[in-house]
Point group: C2
Chain length 338, copies 2
Amino acid sequence: MNPTIKDVAKAAGVSITTVSRVLNQYSDVNPKTRAKVLKVVEQLGYKPNSVARSLVMNRTNTVGLVVSDLSRSRNGHHFMFEVLCGINDRVQELGYDLVLFSTSTTAQKKTPYMDFVRQRRVDGVLMMGIRLDDPYTHEVVAASVPSVLIDVPLTSQTCSYVSTDNIAGARMAIEHLLELGHSRIGFVNGHAQAAVSQERLQGYRMALEAGGIAYDPQLVYYGNFEQEDGAIGTAELRSRFDDLTAVFFASDLMALGALKYVQNLGLRVPENLSIVGFDDIELAALMQPMITTVRQKRYEMGRSAAESLIRILEQQEQGRGIILPPELVVRETTAPHS
Amino acid sequence: MNPTIKDVAKAAGVSITTVSRVLNQYSDVNPKTRAKVLKVVEQLGYKPNSVARSLVMNRTNTVGLVVSDLSRSRNGHHFMFEVLCGINDRVQELGYDLVLFSTSTTAQKKTPYMDFVRQRRVDGVLMMGIRLDDPYTHEVVAASVPSVLIDVPLTSQTCSYVSTDNIAGARMAIEHLLELGHSRIGFVNGHAQAAVSQERLQGYRMALEAGGIAYDPQLVYYGNFEQEDGAIGTAELRSRFDDLTAVFFASDLMALGALKYVQNLGLRVPENLSIVGFDDIELAALMQPMITTVRQKRYEMGRSAAESLIRILEQQEQGRGIILPPELVVRETTAPHS
DNA sequence: CTGTTAGCGCCTTCAA
DNA sequence: TTGAAGGCGCTAACAG
């Protein structure tokens, strides 16, 4: 059995309180006593039981990460993983532990996240991959537990969100295509229940109109961020417009699917079709041709989210929106309209 | 403030003990009392405080996942993430929570994992990405906390490990190349402090010798599983042997690096050089040409690891080795020796 | 500077 | 079938 504070106290010939004091860096402890206690702590290999401490402090030093469909979506493998790394790193740097809690939209796992929060007594929650129509999100936002949402623009006193400036990102992509002389530009978006989809659509539209081109909803296809959606969306848009010369995709995975698809059709990219993706996942630069895309700082998103969460729960700030700038990465799938 | 068991007891007009009984499915409680308590629980939205429960039960219902360099290694992004998903899913299915604990080999983060285990009072630990020469691994293996290692073949009463049959995997790869008529076959291995590297080397050697070809250490290069190592290793081996016609890589990422490298050199794959990777990461099938590789069931590894861990800690089994079969996936980077 | 006392929220004998 | 009492390991007033 692990030694407890009581064992230490006994071995050091002091009271439990005194041990607790030296352990918690109290100043009012006789240096000699402190040394003695520390020595015993060392000898016994005593480690404070954080469960007991959590109970009395009413604080677990733990934050939860609620992820929707971590395993299911392949897009997640690219987007979420890096965010997760950022979260994990920052959380640990700040002295907290991270507990994972993933939910399946498909399964009947209708677990209100708040139950998880309250049972496990996490000090705060991060959420990602959550859809706008998710019924339980608002519970969390409204609750008094600090929370941070990734890519869901909601805030409250104790809730921040972190997102990329998707409007700007989409604008960059479209402006780039416009500058290359394209005018019939399709958009294969993500599903409508993602805030990022709505924002990217807005950016797409704004850039087009700023370029003097009327917005045509027929040029927009809604996919689900996955590879096959890129192919299907492209096929659909091409069937609607035979003068389509460029397509913007809401994810690199979809751009990749489209790339493979049109290459199979015998078309050349970018000569016959220009393609711009979104995310800048590792794959983008490995494709042949390398995919032009809009980079999101995923790792940074994770770090910022963790940081904000912990600042909120340490009462150093209030919920706020944190928007990271995207970056256009011009590679090989875009060329002037011939 | 969240209601406690005391609030429930008071509201239901019974004792705390009784509430505890109905919550823990005890049979000896009057149906009427039970109904009443349950109703109050419902009304108050009472959720048992798992911290308090953990303290008294001396059991947290939580398992820890110790990962080395989660964020750093790009190979991790491909291998570890899927294992993580498998672990996460299975752990959750079995009613446990997962807490992440990542260590940096680089940083001075010389945290003995056992400290984490003992402080957080996790019921068991999973470890992956750990090197053979890691000083703290043995502490965990020898400890009484249940543990499961990924890709480190050590067992004890309370420690299992999960791995792919790397010897068989390497053999498959080499036998495939042998059958295609190759005889000068290089091997770009991972670093020597990974058990998988040693096993794959063994498989490489066995297959070669079974094919009547003497093992030549000069044909083996040790990299670090990353993309650039594939290029460097290939360059090195080609400089040593001008009749090199095939190379086997201990990771797809290295195979990919090599592929890019030799393509840049103006060589054709597989015509001028046959390449076989390991892992079957998503990228492998997206490359041009698609990479022939040895598939590891990463998600399954995660699931098995979680499963074994929990069986050990629920005293349903003892530590054991779990070896999953690999699978050769022949694609486009291998061709007959001309 | 140090010890005593009283819980944190829950489970678990032991009686009734 | 139920309740009272004790304790899990620790922190936090409050005395001394």
